[in-house]
């Protein structure tokens, strides 16, 4: 079947199997930043924004994304540079192997878009669906705090 969806603001008209997942579709279409870690919604490495909300793309049927907006990690930076969350991850040493990073960043963007000054508990909950085996989450939580502060300051401008 054919579906049309928007990925990182680009309209994509694609042929899919009805039973295929959004993760498979995105990687097939070249969005390699979306990672497969488990295929069962347990690790969050495949997280993308679907109509502004972070979801496990391995559990979303591609057909469900018909007519909807998807943002992957590749769509977060703009002409002015990295998204504040990406910038903070880079600066705080929150990236080790980087495999969980795209999904983690997407989850953090969802969190901060809907809660501009989250408490530490809310940050932990916000990324609770993103597993990381390298960092122990310590610097990732710090990075999200930094990003929140910066995004808050930016909003005042």
């Amino acid at each position: 079947m054919r579906i049309t969806l928007t990925v990182n603001e680009a309209k994509r008209d694609v042929e899919i199997e009805p039973g295929g997942t959004l993760l498979e579709l995105l990687r097939r279409e070249g969005y390699k930043g979306v990672k497969k870690g488990c295929g069962s919604g347990d690790c969050g490495a495949c997280a993308v924004l679907l109509d502004g909300r972070a979801v496990n793309s391995c559990l979303v049927l591609a057909a469900k994304a018909d007519g909807r907006k998807v943002v992957t990690v590749e769509g977060l930076a703009d002409d002015e540079g990295l998204h504040p969350v990406q910038q903070a991850f880079l600066e705080e040493g929150a990236i080790q192997c980087g495999y969980c990073t795209p999904g983690m960043v997407i989850a953090a963007v969802d969190l901060l878009t809907h809660n501009s000054s989250p408490s530490e508990a809310q940050i932990r909950e916000g990324i609770s669906g993103n597993l990381c085996r390298c960092t122990g989450y310590v610097k990732q939580i710090e990075a999200i705090k930094t990003a929140a502060k910066r995004m808050g300051e930016g909003a005042d401008d």
Binding site: P18, G19, V55, L59, V60
Partner: protein, 285 residues
């Protein structure tokens, strides 16, 4: 690929259309909200999926009957809703914050959560304790108590769950939910939801539901009886929790033993009732 035998993915724009497709598809057709269960378990015989998200069933409305939540409302949407946050001291929102992860809650619908009846479900025990009703559409709308759906869910064959209704809480009512799990992103080893109404110091409505036993949430009638007509004191709470432990039908599984689940039942019921007592005391002030 998740569903290798899937031939048709339908997005009907009316409930009647959805029902017709469901009936025509027979045993190989399924309705989905978020579709999580379908993708996870990939039943090989499913050839037709009917996505309910275009049916305007994402809503939360307060009316004289209570709080009505449309079946395709996501768990995240429910958490974020002001009226839900105020319902019985925020017990629903408190429970939902412990369910799965934000990523899954952004996709999971309340209809799907109720229909899939996962034995570790946190939503079902609380909604049972709150005496929820569900609306099913089979050409006509029918309202049945949520408890009638389980365990067989036979009401769901050939009909579509469209709404869940939480009644207006009577005054003097408080509810509570607790669960124990191994990590913060895990299903419950044991969970418990309680609702108590107190009139002139005595319990006149008591619901005690335990889930993840490892079976789906079900009432503990012996414990409920033990609390009926009693005052909510430390002693009665201790006694009732003890009855709950003795009467709970727990089993061994990979995650915990039957014996340990009994202990968790005791602690869960105790903490739920303590919280209810504290909430009612707060309410009086």
């Amino acid at each position: 690929m998740a569903l290798t035998h899937l031939k048709e993915y339908l997005r009907p724009t009316s409930l009647e259309e959805a029902l017709t497709s469901l009936r025509e598809g027979g045993k190989d057709a399924r309705v989905i909200g978020g579709g999580i269960e379908l993708v996870l378990f990939s039943p090989p015989d499913v050839t037709t999926l009917i996505d309910l998200s275009e049916l305007s069933l994402s809503y939360i409305k307060e009316n004289e009957a209570g709080l009505a939540i449309g079946a395709t409302t996501t768990l995240t949407q429910i958490i974020g809703h002001q009226t839900v946050a105020q319902y019985l001291d925020g017990v629903i929102v408190g429970m939902l914050h412990q369910v799965a992860s934000p990523l899954l809650r952004n996709l999971a619908t309340i209809g799907g959560s109720l229909a899939s009846a996962n034995p570790w479900s946190d939503v079902i025990p609380l909604f049972l304790a709150l005496d929820a009703k569900v609306t099913l559409f089979d050409g006509k709308y029918h309202s049945i108590p949520l408890s009638d759906l389980y365990p067989t869910r036979s009401h769901l064959s050939g009909s579509i769950l469209t709404e869940v209704l939480l009644p207006v809480p009577a005054s003097g009512t408080a509810a509570s939910f607790h669960q124990f799990s191994r990590t913060g992103f895990d299903v419950a080893l044991l969970n418990c939801a309680c609702l108590v109404k107190v009139d002139a110091g005595r319990c006149t409505v008591v619901r005690i539901v335990a889930g993840g036993t490892p079976r789906l949430g079900a009432a503990l009638p012996a414990a409920e009886e033990a609390l009926m007509g009693m005052e909510l004191t430390d002693e009665t709470i201790e006694q009732v929790a003890h009855v709950a432990r003795e009467s709970a039908d727990t089993r061994d599984d990979r995650r915990a033993s039957a014996r340990y689940r009994k202990q968790l039942t005791y602690v869960c019921v105790k903490r739920c009732l303590q919280e209810i007592r504290d909430r009612l005391a707060e309410g009086k002030k």
